[in-house]
């Protein structure tokens, strides 16, 4: 298991792991909430399923990208809540930067059609 503290060594992230980081932001959530958040944020285009989601969470906890957190006061006490660690945040930033660079290239190569142009 990759326990390196260098953010770059965790790249690239799997799609699921990136979704998890994006869904959590700086909040603490349980797994099902993450599924809902991702579905909502992507307008239902990307859906996660419990098996692969928890397998990913398990690995990310192991790698130090996520940690279990105290549930918020109003929360369901039976569930486990997770939040992003500072390493996880750095990794998310690094992965975003990497994807941004790739997108920039894609744009130059005309792979990426801007929504505004499409409208026009």
């Amino acid at each position: 298991m990759n326990r390196s503290t260098a953010p770059d060594s965790h790249l690239p992230l799997t799609a699921t792991a990136y979704h998890v980081l994006l869904a959590l932001g700086d909040r603490a959530m349980h797994g099902y909430a993450m599924m809902q958040a991702i579905e909502a944020k992507t307008e239902g285009r990307d859906r996660l399923l419990p098996g692969s989601l928890y397998a990913t969470i398990a690995r990310m906890v192991g790698e130090g990208l996520l940690e279990e957190s105290e549930p918020p006061p109003e929360a369901d006490r039976r569930r486990r809540y997770y939040r992003v660690t500072s390493l996880g945040r750095s990794v998310a930033r690094a992965e975003s930067a990497r994807l941004a660079r790739l997108l920039e290239i894609a744009r130059r190569e005309s792979y990426l059609v801007e929504p505004s142009r499409r409208k026009a």
Binding site: M1, M35, L49, S52, L53, A55, I57, R80
Partner: protein, 906 residues
């Protein structure tokens, strides 16, 4: 709600696909998230909920496969792909997890490595190691040589020197070997200072210690003044000094009594040094020896009893020395011409290092080393086979690793690491086996093996002993074995095609040809090596059986023999016949002794004298044509004691005394050779060494041949004279009605009752003597049988494993065949056909190898030719039977396959 419960149950079940480590912490949450999401989807109505549930289950199936693969990969490749320590840990864990496999592999290796380690120590003692003298590579044996014009083409054989002949060598100017020394072995009796004791002494010329560069630990060496002034001087061996004289340095200058003569002790030899004969209790100058033992030792120019040793001078080559010695040999012949006109005399030189063990022993050690090597080859092939089979069981694991990007080199490396680890364990155990085996060999090693050519005996049994070199050799062998055994499985591991393996169910793969064939080749190699060993063992068995079946001409059971010696100048020495008669009379009175007699050598142990026949009947032989004959001096009951058979005539009795005409008993061979087709009894025979009279003796009886030497020498003509006419006996023989060893105290008491100062020595039974004579064959045989048996078991196990594996992996195929109507018998035939092909290939290769390697054995065999097909056929039959039986046992299981069951499973 019912739907949700059913789906929850299905989902919970599917979660079992995850590795336990993930399930343990997470399955509850997964299930809860599933239930929440399912409830959500139900609210959306329609097919949303079941579609979600199916997708969720499918997701578990997909991701669980990935998780399992990840975990495998992490277990192997975890941190840093180059972590060798991890490989070792993993290999170790997997060995611990399969204790039976590990134990089998370690045992196989331990035996292979152990046998080689033990043989290595024997080789080292006999062939490889340096002699324990400074610059031992320069030590040479200087020989006089003898060849005969009657046998042209035979290489000249080294012969001994007489003192007079040695003097010629000493006086040769510009010798390329300098200094030189002569030495020979005799026995003397030490009296005073406690019980009389028989000592083995080396009689040496004064430069002996100088040549060897061995300094006395106490006192001084012999000097040339000692020789000139004819002083009677002795140097004690370290052992004798400690035992007899309590290690007291005050012994220097003391006078001891040897054969009744006073001899001054001037030194003590280096610790553990026993001379080149390896047996010296004491060293005397040759002049002292002549005084104490017999004057003829120096006076008689034809008394050949000395070996000569020298140190090659710096810069001289062995070839140059050899030609110089040839010239010396010719000069010696000119000074003391041989009476045999067919003799061709010369000289030669040999490096001491090469002469230290006789050729037989060297050959035997090499044969055994080769046998041990074969055992290791078999063990190695066996282990490689086991590792291959194991590699196959792990096929999926390896494939997953390769699929996930684990390098092929890594896959190969972990296979190699595992093999090396096994070999390491095998090496440790093998070191232990070698240690035990080497100690055992020391105990069974026959004396005859340890003798070098001539008067040399360095290879003390104690030199063949386990030490660090042996362990180091075991370690190196283990390393080599590990690499060799690991190569095939490592290559196999790296070649595995991941996609194929992962896609196919395990069963489909088993019929893939490539690797099954690698194992078949390995087993064929094992069978071939085993056949070589077994054929060699077979030849040895045949040889031993023939040696045993040689008619000894007597009943060797319950006969005890011992030597005595009458010191010169003692009372009895002047009346030897009276002594012999007294001894016989008192021995016969001992209860338990059924017959007693005296002779001058122990039967099976040699002749008293080997002489030549001057005259037989009317025929007088010319010098050089005289037939050789063994000469013995015996008492009347000699043949009765031995249980020998009288063919015709009467045995010498009371009437054949000193003053009556000399009589002789011939053995059958002598009677037939000297009087072919005629009656021997009543004729006269003149023997050159017969000291009784110049007139020929009358033949009064013919006895059946008695074996006087080792059985392979066969019978030769023998003449037996009566001690009444020639009182030269020095050996007593008693036949007992009870276990002969029980009578030893009584026999010692009888001797002491005659004279307390007379020692008994070389006391042994004829059976022991016989065993000693065939000892080298016996030991070779024992070791070869052990190695051959081991090879047989290993090869059979190898075949068993491969067939068992083939059967178990083809159960499905067999099930189908049997469902389609194949007879069970046909299915067995199918499996056995393959086994038979392997056996045939192994036997064929092995047969050729055995025939080729049997050249090594030929000189060690008695009346067995290497072209004799019987040992080969016997070995092949035994091997084929055992191998096919080993194949049949698992093959039989194929018939018990229940077709329905095999089709249902998998």
């Amino acid at each position: 709600m019912r739907g949700s419960r059913i789906w929850a149950a299905v989902y919970r079940l599917s979660l079992r696909l995850y590795p336990r480590s993930l399930r343990d912490g997470w399955s509850d949450e997964m299930l809860r998230a599933f239930e929440d999401a399912y409830a959500d989807h139900r609210r959306r109505g329609g097919w949303a909920a079941p579609v979600f549930a199916m997708r969720a289950v499918w997701d578990v199936m997909r991701s669980s496969r990935r998780e399992r693969a990840n975990r495998e990969e992490r277990r192997f490749a975890g941190r840093g792909t180059a972590d060798l320590g991890l490989d070792v840990r993993i290999a170790w864990r997997s060995l611990v997890r399969t204790p039976l496999f590990t134990a089998a592999a370690v045992l196989v290796l331990a035996l292979g490595i152990g046998a080689n380690g033990a043989l290595f120590s024997a080789m080292r003692a006999t062939v490889l190691s340096k002699l324990p003298f400074p610059e031992s590579g320069r030590l040479v044996l200087l020989d006089l040589t003898h060849a005969s014009t009657t046998r042209p083409g035979d290489a000249p054989t080294p012969t001994s020197w007489s003192w007079r002949k040695f003097e010629i060598l000493e006086e040769t100017p510009g010798r390329l070997a300098d200094p030189v020394a002569a030495y020979g072995m005799r026995t003397v009796t030490l009296t005073g200072d406690g019980d009389p004791v028989r000592l083995t002494v080396e009689l040496v010329s004064v430069d002996y210690f100088e040549v060897l560069q061995v300094r006395p630990r106490v006192g001084r060496d012999f000097s040339s003044e000692d020789e000139r002034e004819n002083r009677l001087l002795a140097i004690l061996s370290d052992g004798l000094w400690r035992e007899r004289f309590g290690g007291d340095a005050g012994v220097i200058g003391r006078v001891v009594t040897l054969n009744g003569r006073p001899v001054e002790v001037i030194g003590v030899g280096a610790a553990s040094f026993r001379g080149l004969t390896g047996q010296a209790d004491m060293w005397l100058t040759i002049q002292t020896g002549a005084e104490v033992v017999a004057p003829f030792l120096v006076e008689e120019a034809y008394a050949h009893w000395l070996s000569v040793l020298g140190r090659i001078v710096p810069g001289a080559t062995l070839e140059a020395l050899q030609s110089q010695m040839q010239a010396t040999g010719v000069a010696v012949e000119a000074a003391y011409p041989d009476s045999d006109p067919t003799a061709v005399r010369g000289g030669g030189a040999r490096l001491l290092e090469q002469a230290r063990v006789n050729r037989q022993a060297r050959r035997a050690v090499i044969v055994l080393a080769a046998a041990a090597g074969l055992v290791l080859v078999i063990a190695c092939a066996n282990l490689a086979g086991l590792l291959l089979a194991r590699g196959r069981q792990r096929e999926r694991e390896t494939a997953v690793r390769l699929a996930l990007g684990g390098g092929r080199w890594r896959a190969a490396r972990s296979a190699l690491v595992e093999s090396l680890l096994l070999a390491g364990l095998g090496g440790l155990a093998g070191g232990l086996v070698a240690w035990v085996l080497a100690s055992w060999m020391v105990r069974v090693w026959p004396d005859r093996f340890l003798n070098g050519d001539g008067n040399i005996r360095f290879v003390e049994a104690s030199a063949v002993q386990p030490d660090w070199a042996l362990l180091a050799a075991s370690a190196i062998l283990a390393l080599l074995t590990g690499v060799l055994c690991g190569i095939a499985p490592a290559l196999a591991a790296s070649r595995r095609a991941p996609a194929l393996t992962l896609r196919a169910g395990s069963a489909a793969l088993e019929s893939r040809r490539g690797r099954a064939d690698a194992r078949s080749v390995l087993v064929a190699v094992e069978l071939a090596a085993a056949l070589v060993l077994l054929a060699g063992t077979g030849m040895m068995v045949a040889s031993f059986a023939r040696l045993q079946s040689v008619d000894r001409g007597m009943d060797t059971s319950n006969v005890l023999a011992f030597y005595w010696s009458l010191p010169r100048g003692s009372e009895w020495a002047s009346r030897p016949y009276d002594f012999q008669a007294t001894l016989l009379e008192r021995l016969e009175r001992v209860p338990g002794i059924t017959s007693a007699s005296v002779g001058c050598s122990i039967p099976l142990g040699g002749h008293c004298v080997i002489s030549t026949v001057r005259q037989a009947g009317d025929r007088r032989y010319r010098e050089g044509e005289r037939p050789r004959i063994g000469v013995h001096y015996i008492s009347q009951s000699y043949f009765e004691t031995l249980g020998a058979r009288l063919v015709a005539g009467r045995l010498p009795g009371d009437t054949d005394g000193r003053d009556s005409p000399p009589v002789v008993v011939l053995n059958r061979t002598a009677a037939q050779r000297l009087f072919p087709g005629e009656e021997a009894i009543g004729r006269h025979v003149g023997v050159a060494a017969d000291p009784t009279s110049e007139s020929p003796a009358q033949v009064i009886a013919v006895v059946d041949d008695i074996l006087h030497g080792p059985p392979e020498r066969g019978f030769m003509p023998e003449a037996y004279f009566s001690i009444r006419q020639a009182p030269f006996a020095s050996v007593a023989l008693v036949r007992t009605g009870v276990d002969p060893s029980a009578l030893v105290p009584e026999i010692r008491a009888v001797m002491a009752s005659i004279d307390e100062s007379l020692p008994i020595f070389r006391l042994r039974t004829l059976e022991e003597m016989d065993a000693e004579n065939t000892g080298d064959t016996r030991v070779l045989l024992m070791l070869l049988v052990a190695f051959g048996g081991l090879a047989l078991v290993l090869a059979a196990t190898g075949l068993w494993a491969i067939v068992a594996f083939a059967v178990s992996s083809r159960r499905r195929e067999m099930g189908i065949r049997m469902t389609l109507g194949a007879e069970p018998g046909r299915v067995v035939t199918l499996v056995m056909g393959k086994a038979a092909a392997i056996v045939a290939a192994g036997l064929l290769t092995g047969g050729l190898g055995a025939w080729w390697l049997s050249r090594l054995l030929e000189s060690l065999l008695y009346e067995v030719r290497r072209t004799d097909p019987a040992p080969f056929l016997a070995a092949a039959t035994v091997l084929a039977t055992v191998a096919l039986l080993a194949a049949w046992l698992p093959a039989r299981r194929a018939t018990r396959v229940d077709p329905l069951e095999t089709l249902r499973t998998d």
